[in-house]
């Protein structure tokens, strides 16, 4: 199985980008709003993400994510005391990663690459992403992998994601332990299939991504009934920088139990951040389910991402993937090509066909043709008369041993360099193709195959 599936998603996204951009002008000429185009783009990406191609994505993420978790000094032993964290229902993948207590103030956890998500993170852990950002988690969280992370990354348009930094000193109204991370994933996220989400959905997570208005809601002393699963970042600089996010204010106050401190100057390493966000979000939501009051959502992004992620977890488990029309292989249509050979002869064939049809259309064709052919070759006259044929079902080929030969979902659409046959052994040299195999999409520039008929 091809594991270079990350490129597939990237390719698809770049295709989407190209198409949208090239079409933008047309849309404008037609007088259609930009918003429509953006909606189209969102829908497209959403569908694509949901489709099987995304599975590759996840795998890719799985392999690539690798981040370091650090424990704050005071929590160096915390993990031992932590109660069992709430775990995402799709818990089969949950692992507890080992805590390495180093004498340093910070204890570092390394999540191994290829770690199976979700992962349980004890409370009081400071997570450091590969990019160097630190997240301090005050409550046990479960780290899950956001399936849609990478793709989200590619969408620039959406709400800007900005790290919101909680004042180190906890800005005035903010209770020490409540800081509200605001991250909005740009995306795409009108992401869909929240339906499959686990109980967390009970919290009525919003399907839309909206980032809650940061400041006011951030400052909450108590756990907010509305859990916001987000990570909070702290800018290295002591000054809090209010995040300016195009987020809607969520009606309820958002509250994060977990505080996350971040160090980086970078704003995003989306994947890891998303993962952490999701985890924390999930954690909190679980913990606060009982207290959940509001239905409004704050971190749409993270939730959506989380939702997505959970969705995939479930789908992993139950093999139930709800895809709205992902199997329509629309992306394949983009690359479909007809062998040149056939195209070149289309004109010829059509002319020939037309002629033939015209001749044949004399529907008493039998007599006219037979007389014609009979005239041609006398030797066959007798044979012609003999037609005792009627072809009936007695002559049927054994109903095509493989009648469903073309019902398969495994399809390759490509161009050929060379197709060779010797007796019943076939050899294929293919190029520039897209294939859907066992539900996953693969793209290749060269493929070689052999088959027996």
């Amino acid at each position: 199985m091809l594991t270079n599936s990350g490129p597939v998603a990237k390719l698809y996204l770049s295709i989407i980008d190209d198409v949208i951009e090239s079409v933008r002008e047309l849309f404008m000429d037609e007088g259609i709003e930009d918003r429509v185009l953006d909606d189209l783009r969102h829908l497209w990406e959403t569908k694509m993400m949901q489709s099987k191609a995304m599975e590759d994505f996840r795998k890719n993420n799985l392999n690539s994510s690798n981040f370091v978790l650090q424990l704050p000094a005071n929590y160096s032993q915390a993990d031992q005391d932590l109660p069992a964290s709430v775990v995402i229902p799709a818990s089969q993948n949950i692992q507890r990663f080992p805590v390495k207590n180093i004498s340093e103030p910070l204890t570092t956890f390394s999540l191994p690459a290829g770690l199976a998500y979700p992962v349980q993170i004890p409370a009081g852990v400071t997570l450091q992403t590969a990019s160097g950002q630190l997240y301090k988690v005050n409550v046990p969280v479960v780290v899950t992998q956001a399936p849609g992370v990478q793709q989200l990354v590619s969408q620039p348009t959406q709400k800007a994601t900005e790290w919101r930094e909680a004042p180190a000193s906890q800005s005035a109204a903010v209770p020490p332990n409540t800081i509200h991370p605001q991250e909005v994933e740009p995306s795409a996220v009108t992401q869909p299939p929240q339906a499959n989400l686990p109980p967390i959905q009970e919290n009525s997570l919003p399907q839309q991504l909206r980032v809650p208005d940061g400041e006011a809601s951030q400052l909450q002393g108590a756990l907010c009934p509305q859990p916001e699963g987000t990570l909070e970042e702290r800018e290295p600089s002591p000054q809090p920088e209010p995040v300016d996010l195009s987020m809607t204010v969520s009606p309820c106050s958002h509250l994060l139990d977990s505080q996350i401190s971040t160090e980086t100057a970078q704003l995003k390493t989306r994947d890891i951040d998303d993962i952490l966000k999701e985890v924390i979000e999930v954690e909190r939501e679980k913990a606060q389910r009982a207290r959940n009051l509001a239905s409004a959502k704050t971190d749409d992004q993270s939730e959506a991402v989380l939702g997505l992620d959970l969705d995939y977890n479930y789908s992993d488990l139950s093999e139930i993937v709800q895809l709205d029309g992902p199997a329509d292989n629309s992306d394949i249509e983009e690359e479909e090509e007809v062998p040149l050979e056939e195209n070149d002869f289309l004109g010829l064939i059509n002319a020939e066909a037309i002629k033939a049809l015209q001749e044949g259309d004399g529907s008493g064709d039998g007599s006219s043709i037979s007389s014609g052919s009979g005239g041609e070759e006398e030797a066959y006259e007798i044979a012609d008369v003999e037609e005792d044929d009627p072809l009936n079902s007695g002559d049927d080929v054994i109903e095509q041993d493989i009648p469903d030969l073309f019902d398969t979902d495994n399809v390759i659409v490509c161009q050929y360099d060379k197709i060779h046959r010797c007796k019943n052994r076939w050899k294929f040299h293919l190029k520039d193709g897209v294939m859907c195999y066992r539900g996953r999409d693969y793209v290749f520039s060269k493929a070689v195959g052999e088959a027996e008929w």
Partner: protein, 202 residues
């Protein structure tokens, strides 16, 4: 076992009169037959919708392969079809009918007509090696042998319209218009070959 040694079956067994009680196995390896569908065929339709087809637009034909009688048919747009690969005449006819049925199912108004076996190829192995030069000398105008061109001597029987290729190992291939003729041809040539057999020591 066939009733008569000359009956057209896939393997013919011979009892040679010349003090030789052996039976020669003639194995029919290929039967070529043609027939007509009496209607024009749209090759492109066949190529796109048919199963197990190979389209050769440069030549203007479609190859359709059948599994059950293992045959390959060349289909032309005129409605003429050449069916090859069968191992007996009956099999060829059966395969041709099945093929016509396939075309009928694709939507063409096919009528199975003018079925005719055109060529039969059989191989046979003599129990002895043959001295080709002597054989050619003895059968001067009928047999020809050009070792630089082809390693076998060619013997044509006009009356049967059969061609026999004799190799020095004693293998013989026979082509003729039908199985009966092929069998007869082998029978005819056997004594001639017998005369020119190479001594075993060689």
């Amino acid at each position: 076992m066939c009733e008569s040694p000359w009956s057209p079956c896939c393997t013919a067994h011979f009892l040679m009169d010349s003090s030789n009680e052996e039976a020669l196995d003639i194995i029919v390896t290929n039967v070529v037959a043609t027939f007509r569908t009496r209607c024009h065929l749209n090759l492109r339709t066949i190529a796109l919708e048919g199963t197990n087809v190979i389209y050769k637009p440069e030549v203007g034909k479609v190859l359709m392969k059948l599994r059950k009688p293992k045959i390959t048919a060349s289909i032309w747009s005129s409605g003429k079809i050449i069916c090859t690969g069968a191992t007996s005449e009956d099999e060829a006819k059966l395969g041709a009918r099945r093929l016509a049925r396939c075309l009928q199912k694709l939507g063409f108004k096919v009528r199975f007509s003018a079925f005719r076996v055109v060529n039969v190829l059989a191989v046979c192995s003599m129990p002895f090696a043959v001295h080709l030069i002597d054989f050619t000398k003895n059968n001067r105008p009928i047999a020809s042998y050009e070792p630089e061109l082809h390693p076998a001597a060619t013997y044509r029987i006009k009356t049967l319209k059969a061609t026999i290729q004799v190799f020095s190992t004693g293998s013989v291939t026979v082509t003729g218009p039908n199985v009966q003729n092929v069998a007869t041809a082998v029978e005819q040539v056997y004594p001639l070959l017998f005369e020119c057999q190479k001594p075993l020591c060689k």
